[in-house]
């Protein structure tokens, strides 16, 4: 299949229906040396040139291994971090370099769900004050009062309104994650960035929270950016998936395309590494095993960043960086020798 011309994604205002458009997003963390005379000796290239859009009402999954920059991306989208360069356009407005004060009114539209339900809730506050905090911080007076709204939110996420005066320690991990979700939903955000929302939970509870997130999306028309390392969770929840490796998107496609016909060798290796809960398939599956570890983002390999671990790497992979090219409608991969063509 030939490389189709680049379309969408890079347009300044983004394609129609795009809630969030990201262009050339970069985040370098400086590495300094010395105590008094601090000089920069390098930079961790956590996120290095991301282009993607998120359409209203969809779920975009961001997958990758630790250190690939997925959490940094989430923090950039919510503007908890300032990008080194690149643009983030949310709802038609460039938010890439807004100051905290300018950002504050926008925060009600962009919210985050955190990974660890234990450390993301203040143990000294009651559930009522935790879930009601967004109203107070944003000085929003709901019609029926904060208490009533909080109780409605608790019901929405499957807790009981009587939990209003209880403390976080009285709840299990899954229930705490529900409290966190209720807080996220308080101001009816348009975009929710969920960073590993279920990875700290037990298997049976994971499924409850995944179902809850899906129900809330249908009910409230939410848009999610779901950051996760668990490929099966992402396949289940996301409409489109971006696979990241060392700060770059190596493949971006609809969930169905990506999982049935992965193009990038890294995606292939990632998928084949997931153990299948079927002992009968032990002999049948051909596995692609990557050797070694992910290189340091302090000095990533030149050109294609995956070439050090790739079994298809040729000379061109060490000299020329492959563009994230559209190999099939809606399916992009950054590889000189894609699979399944």
């Amino acid at each position: 299949m030939s490389t189709a011309p680049d379309q969408g994604g890079t347009a300044a205002s983004g394609p129609p229906g795009a809630l969030l458009t990201v262009t050339g997003l970069q985040k370098y963390f400086p590495v300094t040396h010395g105590i008094i005379l601090r000089r920069q000796v390098g930079a961790v290239q956590a996120v290095d040139g991301l282009d993607f859009t998120v359409t209203q009402g969809e779920t975009l999954g961001l997958v990758g291994e630790s250190g690939c920059g997925k959490t940094t991306t989430g923090r950039l989208l919510t503007r908890l971090l300032e990008p080194t360069s690149g643009r983030i356009v949310f709802g038609g407005r460039d938010i890439s370099h807004l100051r905290p004060g300018q950002m504050r009114p926008l925060r009600r539209n962009i919210q985050m769900i955190f990974q660890d339900p234990y450390s993301s809730l203040n143990p000294r506050h009651t559930v009522g004050s935790i879930v009601g905090a967004p109203f107070r911080l944003q000085r929003v007076e709901p019609e029926q009062g904060i208490k009533r709204s909080v109780q409605e939110l608790l019901e929405l996420v499957g807790l009981s309104p009587e939990h209003y005066n209880r403390y976080p320690y009285e709840f299990s991990g899954g229930q705490r994650q529900r409290i966190g979700i209720a807080r996220t939903l308080a101001l009816r955000p348009k975009l929710i960035v969920a960073d590993e929302p279920v990875s700290a939970l037990d298997v049976s509870i994971q499924a409850q929270v995944i179902n809850l997130l899906e129900d809330l999306q249908d009910e409230l028309g939410l848009t999610y950016v779901l950051i996760a390392h668990d490929l099966s969770v992402v396949r289940h929840t996301a409409d489109r998936v971006a696979v990241m490796y060392l700060g770059k998107i190596v493949e971006l496609a609809s969930s169905a395309q990506l999982y049935s016909r992965p193009r990038h060798p890294y995606t292939v290796a990632l998928l084949s590494a997931v153990p299948s809960p079927d002992p009968g398939s032990r002999g049948r599956r051909t596995r692609t095993r990557l050797s070694g570890d992910v290189p340091s983002p302090l000095s990533p390999p030149p050109a294609c960043r995956f070439h050090t671990r790739c079994w298809k790497a040729q000379e061109i992979c060490r000299t020329t960086e492959p563009p994230l090219a559209e190999l099939a409608p809606g399916h992009r991969a950054a590889c000189h020798f894609p699979e399944n063509t």
């Binding site: 291994e65 630790s66 299990s172 991990g173 899954g174 229930q175 037990d202 298997v203 049976s204 509870i205 994971q206 499924a207 409850q208 995944i210 179902n211 899906e214 390392h229 490929l231 099966s232 969770v233 396949r235 289940h236 969930s255 169905a256 999982y259 049935s260 016909r261 992965p262 060798p265 292939v268 290796a269 990632l270 998928l271 084949s272 590494a273 997931v274 153990p275 299948s276 809960p277 079927d278 002992p279 009968g280 398939s281 032990r282 599956r285 051909t286 596995r287 692609t288 095993r289 990557l290 050797s291 070694g292 570890d293 992910v294 079994w311 298809k312 699979e339 399944n340």
Partner: protein
């Protein structure tokens, strides 16, 4: 050493580990029996608080001298760890049974080099010179796939990546050639591609050393990949125990069904909704009467309240397959037949040539 009749490497009989607390007695493990043969792998699956890790600490004799009340028998190659004196247990630990912990960063000492930690463990059980122990440490690191082991042996744990630390832990555990290796969530802190490397390594080393392995995990995929036998635990008890093929092909306990249904799978067509288990795991201080799973079981009502009164015994329902459930077998087979969706033809994985 030991009774000649003991065929199994490890046999656990009616193990109970209880912790007295201010709020009441925590029954972390409550009447657990299983065995592992040499060269075999047992997978223990369960959610947090089901007693998996407490069991493994019990096998290592690490509850001795604590407030834990341990009863029952743990036969390790013909010796009962529960009754053995502390000094003897210390000898067994490391040489006969070794453990790989979940979090390699907090299990390795940050002040000592990786090599020194392996040397220390080796010299406790073997009377060899420091030089010989060092050579052995390098050999072990090389065995588990640490590149340039001869120089990396002098590195500190923080200089290793997560996967390398776990390899170092495995090298340390295997340095004294244990006959039983317990891996407690060995890959939970690792990325999938590294997890695959470590799981391959454990099974390769098992083939090489012929040791028995217990792998404790919450990930059914990991168990299916490695285990010959599977033990499913719930609230300190075994609810299902059998060969991996039997348990995964014909799971017989509603809790096992729930676990299988609640995980999204890559090897099946994408389901519209996941089928979670209702409710949350029970408190170990106030276990529900009767079958501990009955408040969360969708089928508990089918046997007229028996689940609420009687604790179900672990009974054989097929050769090498035991389940603890009051529901008649035919009824469970019927429910299972109605609810299972046939697997997709193509697992959706089209990997390229292996790059090992």
């Amino acid at each position: 050493m030991g009774s000649p009749a003991a065929r199994e490497m490890l046999e656990v009989k009616e193990l109970r580990i209880h912790f007295p607390t201010e709020d009441g007695l925590v029954r972390a493990v409550d009447g657990l029996s299983f065995s592992v043969d040499r060269g075999q792998t047992l997978g223990i699956v369960g959610e947090s608080g089901s007693g998996k890790s407490v069991t493994s600490l019990g096998i290592l004799g690490l509850h001795q001298g604590t407030r834990a009340q341990v009863s029952g028998e743990i036969w390790l190659d013909g010796e009962n760890v529960v009754r053995a004196p502390a000094g003897r247990v210390r000898q067994l630990r490391g040489s006969k049974v070794a453990m790989i912990f979940q979090d390699p960063l907090s299990s390795l000492h940050p002040y000592y080099t990786v090599g020194n930690q392996i040397i220390e463990a080796y010299r406790i059980h073997n009377h060899v010179s420091k030089k010989a122990a060092r050579a052995h440490a390098i050999e072990m690191l090389d065995r588990v796939g640490i590149p340039q082991a001869a120089t990396r042996v002098d590195d500190y744990p923080h200089q290793f990546s997560g996967g390398m630390r776990q390899r170092a832990m495995i090298a340390m555990a295997l340095s004294c050639d244990p006959e039983l290796l317990i891996a407690d969530e060995p890959t939970t802190a690792l990325d999938v591609t590294v997890q695959a490397q470590i799981l391959d390594l454990i099974s390769d080393l098992q083939d090489e050393f012929g040791s028995a392995v217990i792998i404790i995990t919450h990930d059914l995929g990991v168990v299916a990949e490695l285990a010959d036998d599977v033990l499913v635990m719930y609230a300190g008890k075994a609810v299902e125990y059998g060969s991996a093929d039997e348990v995964f092909q014909h799971p017989g306990h509603p809790y096992t069904w729930g676990l299988l249904a609640s995980m999204p799978r890559l090897d099946r067509d994408r389901q519209e909704r996941l089928d979670p288990i209702a409710g949350t795991p029970p408190s170990l201080i106030q276990l529900p009467a009767g079958c501990a799973f009955h408040p969360r079981c969708a089928y508990a009502a089918l046997n007229g309240g028996r689940s609420e009164r009687e604790v179900p015994a672990l009974r054989e329902t097929a050769p090498r397959h035991l389940t603890a459930c009051h529901l008649p077998l035919w009824e469970r087979r019927r429910i299972r037949a109605e609810s299972v969706t046939p697997p997709a033809d193509d697992p959706g994985l089209v990997p390229g040539e292996g790059a090992r």
